[in-house]
C-alpha cells in the first residue's frame, strides 16, 4: 500500500500564485538541517513579464506590540534567504524527491523553491501569551514568503504575495544514552552540628514530550533539624538572548509531606513522578512552546541542543533548558535545601521506534482531528499526494 504524502499549499489572494510545501516542520540535525523545499505554481497568463521571488524570513519578537514606545519596534525581521523563483535563474538546480514529484504532477508552470537555514539560526520557539496580551506572541518565528515584484528587494504587495509559517525544530538523537543525571548536595546549619544530604537521580538524561520523569530522592538527615516537607518541580529555563533576559518557570510541580518529618538521624528514599505538559500550563504567560502553528499539537519548547563546542550565548534567539528542582523545607529557622538536576526534553528523532510509538499515541488522541483532516483530502487527486490548505492550520501567520 502506498502511503499518501501530505503537501501543504497556500495561494495568494489574487489566486495567481500557489506555494506547495512538503512539510512545515524542518529538523535541525546538528551537522545539517533539512532544506526547505517547495514548489511554486504560477498562472501563465498573469506571469508574462513578471518576476517572482522567494524569501526565507525570521522574526524575533522580544516585546509586546502594545508596549512599543518612542517608535521603537520590539520585533526584528531578518531575511535569511533570497531566491528568484521565476524566471528560473538556475535551471539545473538540484531538486529534492518531493520537488521532483510535485513538479511532475503540477505541470510546466511549477518551479522549485529551495532554502537552507543558515548556520546558527535559532530554533522556533513561542512564548505563550498571557490572557490579556494582544498582538502576536513573542518568540522566534520563520516563514517563507513568495511574492511578485520587480527585484528581490521589492516590496511585496498583499494581493500578490503569500507567506507560510514554518518551524525549525531539533529532535533527540537516535539513542538516548545511558547516563543518569544526578546531583548530591548537603546543607549544614549555623549553631548546629551535622548536615542534611540530598541526592536526586533521574531515570534518563533525555525525555520525550509527554513522558513521565522519575526523580529518585535520597535524603539522609545527619543534622539536628527536621525536614518538614519536600517540593519537586520541573523547571523550564528560558534564556532570551535577544534581550539578555533569563527566566525560569515551573511547568510541573508537587509538594509532599510523605515520610516527613524526616527527623534527625533518619533517612528517606522515594521516587517522584512528574509529567511536564503544555496542556497543564495553558494561559500561563511566558511558558516557552515549540513554535506553535496550531493549538492542539503544541508541546513545551524542546531543549536547545548546542552544536559541539559552542556556547549557547553564541546562538541568538531563545535557548531552552530544563531541570528537576528539589527543595527540602527544613523549618523556618533551617531554611531550604535545594538542588537542580538538568535534563533534556525533546521530540524523538523520526524513524526511531520511540517515534513510531509516540506518533501512534498522538493519533489515538486526535482521531477527531484526523477525521477532520481526512475530509479535506482532495478526492479527485488520483496520485498519492494529499494537498492540505495551509491557511486553515495557521494560528499566527504574518498576513
Amino acid at each position: 500500500m502506498v502511503v499518501a504524502v501530505k503537501v501543504f499549499k497556500k495561494t495568494t489572494p489574487n489566486g495567481k500564485l500557489t506555494v506547495y510545501l512538503g512539510k512545515r516542520d524542518f529538523i535541525d540535525h546538528g551537522e545539517f538541517c533539512d532544506p526547505i523545499d517547495g514548489v511554486v505554481v504560477l498562472d501563465e497568463e498573469y506571469m508574462r513579464g513578471r518576476k517572482v521571488f522567494g524569501q526565507l524570513v525570521t522574526i524575533y519578537r522580544y516585546g509586546r506590540e502594545e508596549d512599543e514606545v518612542m517608535g521603537l519596534k520590539f520585533s526584528k525581521e531578518l531575511i535569511i534567504g533570497k531566491e528568484q523563483v521565476f524566471p528560473m535563474v538556475n535551471a539545473k538546480m538540484e531538486m529534492t524527491p518531493m520537488q521532483e514529484r510535485l513538479i511532475k504532477k503540477l505541470g510546466t508552470n511549477a518551479f522549485p523553491l529551495t532554502f537552507q537555514f543558515p548556520q546558527s539560526s535559532p530554533t522556533s520557539v513561542t512564548l505563550q501569551p498571557g490572557e490579556e496580551d494582544q498582538g502576536k506572541p513573542l518568540g522566534v518565528e520563520y516563514y517563507v514568503r513568495v511574492f511578485v515584484g520587480d527585484n528581490e528587494d521589492d516590496k511585496a504587495h498583499k494581493r500578490s504575495s503569500v507567506s507560510l509559517t514554518i518551524k525549525k525544530l531539533q529532535f533527540a538523537p537516535p539513542t538516548r544514552g545511558r547516563r543518569l543525571p544526578s546531583s548530591l548536595v548537603s546543607k549544614g546549619f549555623t549553631f548546629s552540628q551535622g548536615k542534611i544530604n540530598l541526592e536526586v537521580t533521574l531515570d534518563r538524561e533525555i525525555y520525550y514530550h509527554g513522558e513521565k520523569i522519575t526523580a529518585n530522592l535520597v535524603v539522609t538527615n545527619n543534622s539536628r533539624k527536621t525536614v518538614k516537607s519536600i517540593k519537586v518541580f520541573v523547571v523550564q529555563h528560558c534564556e532570551v538572548t535577544m534581550v539578555n533576559a533569563q527566566f525560569s518557570k515551573h511547568v510541573a510541580s508537587m509538594e509532599t509531606r510523605e515520610g516527613c518529618p524526616i527527623t534527625p538521624g533518619a533517612s528517606f528514599t522515594k521516587s517522584f513522578f512528574l509529567v511536564p505538559l503544555a496542556s497543564s500550563n495553558k494561559d500561563r504567560r511566558g511558558i516557552a512552546l515549540d513554535g506553535h502553528l496550531r493549538d492542539d499539537d503544541v508541546n513545551l519548547a524542546s531543549s536547545t541542543l548546542g552544536a559541539e563546542g559552542k556556547t549557547s550565548s553564541e546562538s541568538m534567539g531563545i535557548v531552552i533548558s530544563y531541570s528537576v528542582r528539589v527543595k527540602l523545607n527544613c523549618g523556618t529557622l533551617g531554611g531550604e535545601l535545594q538542588t537542580d538536576v538538568p535534563f533534556k526534553l525533546l521530540n524523538p528523532a523520526p524513524g526511531t521506534v520511540e517515534r513510531e510509538r509516540v506518533n501512534a499515541m498522538k493519533k489515538m488522541k486526535s482521531i477527531e482531528k484526523h477525521r477532520y483532516e481526512n475530509s479535506h483530502y482532495d478526492d479527485e487527486d488520483d496520485s498519492n499526494i494529499v494537498f492540505e490548505d495551509f491557511a486553515r492550520m495557521r494560528m499566527n501567520e504574518p498576513e
Binding site: 506590540e65 518612542m70 521589492d154 534581550v243 498576513e399
Partner: protein, 372 residues
C-alpha cells in the same frame, strides 16, 4: 472704591494722563501687603500688554483643554490603552489640566490689570501652578523611567500596574511639600509677580529664608527631575545601541546579506535619540526660564527682572503643558488608532504613519510586516 478701581481699569489710556503709573497702582489697600517692593519700581504695563497676554493664555487654554481632555477621555475609556505605562500619560494630562485651570483666572485678572480676589485667589492660582508644575516634572521623570524599563527588558522588566500606581502617587507627593509649605506660609509664600496678574512663590524678598527656599525648590523641582530624565534616556539610548549592534552581529552570523541593514540600524538609534532629545529639550524649555528668573531674583541682579521678563517663564511652562499631549500621546500608535475610531472627523490616518515606519524597516528587511 472698588468701583473706582474697576473703572480705571476699563478705561485705561484715557485716564493714564500725566506721568507713568507704577505697578500696583490699582491694588486695593487690603491687598497691598501682597505687593513686593521690587515691583513698585516699575511702570505699570499698558493695557494692551495685558490684552496680549490674555490672548496668548486664551489660545493656550483652548489647546490644553482640548489636547489633555481628549487624552484623559480616550485613555480612560479605551480598553486596549489601559496599560500601566499609559497611566503615566494620563497622570501628566491631569497635571497639565491643573495648570490650565489657572488660565481663566488670568483672563479675569488681566481685564482688571491686577490680581483679583485677594489672598485666597492668589494662593489658589499659585497652588495650581506649583502643584501641576512640580508634579508634571516628576511625571516626566517617571515616564522616562518606565520607558527605560520597558525598552531595556521588554519581556520581564516592565512595571506592573501596582508599581506604576505607586510611582504616580510618588509624583503627587513629590509636588506636595513645595505646594503646601508656601500655602501655609511656613516656608516661602505666594505673591503676585510680573504684571501682578499672576501669582507664584516669592523669589524676590531680600532675606535668607527666601533665598534658601529658592535654592531648594530649584534643586527639588528642576535639577532632580532633569537629572533623572537625562539619565534614563541616556541609558535607554545606550541600551538600544547595544541591542542593535547585537542584532546586527547575529544577522552577520546568519549571512543576512542585506547591505541596507546597517542604514536602518542607525536610523533606529537616531529615531530614539531624537525622541529622547525632544522630551529632554521640552523639559529644559519649559522650566529653565523659570529657574533662571527665580535664581536671578534670589541671588542675582534683580533689576534684570522687569515685569515683562518675569512673564516669559510662566508662558513657557504653559506652552509645554499644551504640547505634552502631542509629544506623549499623539506619538502613540494605539492612541491614534483609538482617536481615529472615536473622532473620525479629526482626519487622523493611523495607517499613514504605519507606512512610514514600515519603509524604514523595509530597508533592513525589505519586508513589510502588516501590523494590526
Amino acid at each position: 472704591m472698588f468701583m473706582d478701581g474697576n473703572n480705571t481699569a476699563v478705561l485705561p489710556l484715557a485716564l493714564q494722563g500725566n506721568g507713568p503709573r507704577l505697578l500696583g497702582w490699582n491694588l486695593p489697600t487690603e491687598d497691598i501687603h501682597l505687593l513686593i517692593p521690587h515691583w513698585q519700581a516699575f511702570e505699570a504695563p499698558p493695557f494692551y500688554y495685558h490684552l496680549l497676554l490674555a490672548l496668548v493664555y486664551f489660545v493656550l487654554m483652548v489647546i490644553s483643554t482640548v489636547g489633555n481632555g481628549i487624552v484623559i477621555w480616550i485613555f480612560s475609556t479605551t480598553k486596549s490603552l489601559r496599560s500601566p505605562s499609559n497611566l503615566f500619560i494620563v497622570n501628566l494630562a491631569i497635571f497639565d489640566l491643573c495648570m490650565m485651570l489657572e488660565m481663566p483666572m488670568l483672563l479675569y485678572n488681566s481685564y482688571y490689570q491686577r490680581i483679583m480676589g485677594g489672598d485666597l485667589a492668589c494662593t489658589i492660582y499659585a497652588i495650581l501652578g506649583s502643584f501641576s508644575g512640580i508634579g508634571g516634572s516628576a511625571t516626566n521623570a517617571a515616564i522616562a523611567f518606565d520607558r527605560y524599563k520597558t525598552i531595556s527588558s521588554p519581556i520581564d522588566g516592565k512595571l506592573s500596574r501596582g508599581q506604576a500606581i505607586m510611582l504616580i502617587t510618588f509624583t503627587w507627593f513629590w509636588s506636595l511639600p513645595f505646594t503646601i509649605l508656601p500655602t501655609l506660609q511656613i516656608w516661602g509664600r505666594y505673591v503676585p509677580e510680573g504684571f501682578l496678574t499672576t501669582c507664584s512663590f516669592d523669589f524676590l524678598s531680600n532675606n535668607d529664608e527666601t533665598r534658601v527656599f529658592v535654592a531648594c525648590i530649584f534643586t527639588w523641582a528642576y535639577c532632580i527631575p532633569m537629572f533623572l530624565i537625562a539619565i534614563f534616556y541616556l541609558n535607554l539610548f545606550k541600551h538600544v545601541r547595544a541591542h542593535e549592534k547585537m542584532l546586527k552581529a547575529q544577522a552577520k552570523r546568519m549571512n543576512v546579506q542585506s547591505l541596507s541593514a546597517n542604514r536602518d540600524a542607525k536610523s533606529v538609534e537616531i529615531r530614539i535619540a531624537k525622541a529622547a532629545f525632544t522630551i529632554f529639550f521640552m523639559f529644559v524649555c519649559a522650566w529653565t526660564p523659570y529657574a533662571i528668573v527665580a535664581l536671578i531674583g534670589a541671588f542675582g541682579n534683580r533689576q534684570l527682572l522687569t515685569p515683562l521678563v518675569t512673564m516669559i517663564p510662566a508662558v513657557c511652562c504653559k506652552i509645554v503643558s499644551c504640547i505634552d499631549p502631542w509629544v506623549y500621546a499623539i506619538s502613540h500608535p494605539r492612541y491614534r488608532a483609538a482617536l481615529e475610531k472615536r473622532l473620525p472627523w479629526l482626519g487622523i490616518r493611523e495607517d499613514l504613519r504605519e507606512e512610514d515606519t514600515k519603509s524604514a524597516m523595509t530597508a533592513v528587511t525589505a519586508a513589510p510586516t502588516e501590523e494590526t
